[in-house]
Symmetry: C2
Subunit: 362 residues, 2 copies
């Protein structure tokens, strides 16, 4: 046995192709027995959705007798945890949100306690989220990692909204690990602090939201090529109703005029993807929604619609605030989905800059 913890996902559904429980029973010499706690939960779960518990769904309450049931608050298949001779085997449902919830609520705490009891040196990680600087440039700014990491590690993890820096340190005591993480964090902050927007899993939308809420400010959006993605990102955060009023999706030119009052003559003269239209979109939505900030996004997401002058990936983003309006052009790539995601990230970064007073006002 080489691994001491095995985590598997999927195969816990009510259909013939889901054989995980049978395989685990065979491996652990176990049998399936009816778990009355889960059976009751399933019955209530279905009732609340106006459905009866079918015989097939009731099978999901048959669990290996020696496994610990891991409660699944968002689905019909619970997780299971086996411990035998120092080996931990965890089985989780495959639906991402169910898997993640059980992982966070049960598996991680269990493994954390288990590892702490061993009193060995362990790795601890901290992630700093940066935005507005490419991976290679960030690496140049930080300099050679050997200079500040000592025995720690540093991973560069780029995504659409920026580069996350994952710092890892290894020590026996939690205090020592915290001190090491603080030392490396402080080094990074000194060199690249202006690009660091938060720690951990924080998303750009969350950082913007937290700041809006703290300042009792509000935001509205006017989206063309992103078609609602910026609104979706902002309202993905629980509690966002405190600062998101709403906005408009003006996918067609007609809607830009009808819903936002964008000048039809300007649309004809400059095209929908232009500085003047982005400006009128963000200022128009800010006025109509009566918010502190208004954001307008208009671009050529692709794959069609590009021209020599405005190739696919050309995106104009405007942010209107109390003091000024900032409008910026981006030249993104050729992939439709990436262009849309990067437009959302760029817009959020612009709002953040304006709030921090680090933008270039026009």
């Amino acid at each position: 046995m080489q691994a001491s913890v095995i985590i598997c996902t999927g195969g816990l559904g009510p259909t013939h192709d889901d054989i995980t429980k049978d395989v685990l029973c065979a491996y652990f010499n176990d049998v399936l027995t009816e778990n009355t706690v889960w059976l009751e939960h399933l019955t209530t779960f279905m009732q609340q959705r106006g459905r009866e518990l079918s015989a097939r769904n009731a099978l999901q309450a048959m669990l290996p007798s020696t496994a610990t049931m891991l409660f699944n608050p968002v689905g019909t298949a619970p997780g299971m945890l086996f411990e035998r001779d120092g080996l931990v085997v965890v089985s989780l449902p495959g639906v991402p949100q169910e898997m993640k919830t059980i992982m966070t609520e049960h598996v991680v705490p269990h493994l954390t306690t288990m590892v702490a009891a061993r009193d060995e040196a362990v790795w601890e990680y901290r992630t700093l989220h940066t935005t507005g600087i490419p991976e290679a440039a960030l690496a140049d700014v930080l300099g050679h990692p050997a200079a500040f990491l000592n025995n720690g590690t540093l991973a560069f993890l780029p995504n659409m909204s920026g580069v996350r820096l994952r710092i890892g340190v290894c020590a026996r005591s939690a205090d020592e690990r915290t001190a090491d993480l603080d030392r490396i964090t402080s080094y990074i902050e000194q060199r690249a602090g202006k690009w660091v927007i938060g720690e951990g899993d924080t998303s750009l939308a969350e950082v913007v939201g937290r700041m809006l809420r703290a300042r009792s400010e509000t935001i509205s959006v006017a989206e063309s090529c992103t078609g609602g993605m910026l609104g979706a990102a902002l309202t993905d955060i629980a509690g966002s109703s405190a600062y998101v009023e709403g906005g408009v999706i003006t996918y067609s030119n007609a809607m830009k005029t009808a819903l936002l009052g964008v000048d039809a003559h300007d649309l004809a003269m400059h095209g929908a993807v232009s500085e003047t239209v982005a400006r009128q979109m963000c200022e128009g939505v800010r006025r109509r929604c009566g918010t502190t900030y208004g954001v307008g996004i208009t671009g050529v997401a692709g794959p069609d619609g590009g021209t020599a002058e405005k190739p696919v990936g050309t995106v104009w983003i405007g942010v209107a605030g109390p003091a000024a309006t900032v409008v910026t052009m981006y030249r993104l790539g050729t992939d439709r989905r990436m262009n849309r995601e990067r437009s959302v990230a760029a817009a959020l970064a612009m709002v953040l800059s304006m709030m921090k007073g680090t933008d270039r006002a026009s």
Copy 2:
């Protein structure tokens, strides 16, 4: 050597923690040499984005001399393919869209050709996308798989918008595989055809979009708890400007009145999450945008905002069409993200039903 194909992703970036190329060189006794094709591409790639090629980024043109470069149209790190003594090792960048693009454009075709040349029995898969029926009920409708699969396989793959049925068959000749797939597909269509919306990777938004386009009809959205996600899903499809006009994100009650004309008295009397508000939202947005269909979504996504009468997961969805308006209440779950995703899927399924004439008009 047990595997004949190894595919790895990630670790191709320009920073110190990306060691994939070094490891592959060590394994294959290879050296990094400058790939002039990629160097030129990188230079152009940066120029188009108004940036210079830094020394660090230029390192991404250093590739193992014996690997085939796999062109990456959406990023700065190309993929690599090694073939040695019957072993194929593929290395792809970790950014999902880059990985997927290279996989689709280069790796899958290469492996397909390779496998075809062997003239052995191979597995072929076909996926049917169903919506509107839970996994367990679908399994009951289809009956025991042994009755219709013969030597094929059937996997039930549930996600937010429905259950995908992945059929697998194994044979030497492509004709035989197609015949087997057709036979199983036809059995499933007979039993569960009314829930099947398409084949392959088709999303619900794509099916709705294709049908709208074929009928020269248009759509607009009014979103509260989904905050733009339905608009984002519809406009995720290339060419959606042919049928998506736009819409409004009315996250606050004030916006429901200001942007859509929802009656303030009704909002106060019935609450934002109510049949009458959903109806006014879909009819209001249809009228304002002048579209064939208007969709309104208003619900309690959670985690806060639930009451005894309207618990978290209560969502009202309205679809207004040329002939009628349909408004339906859903009782979803407790997880904010899942509630939002499932609301979008339910709304799209309702639009599809109305177009097919299988909805319950009110």
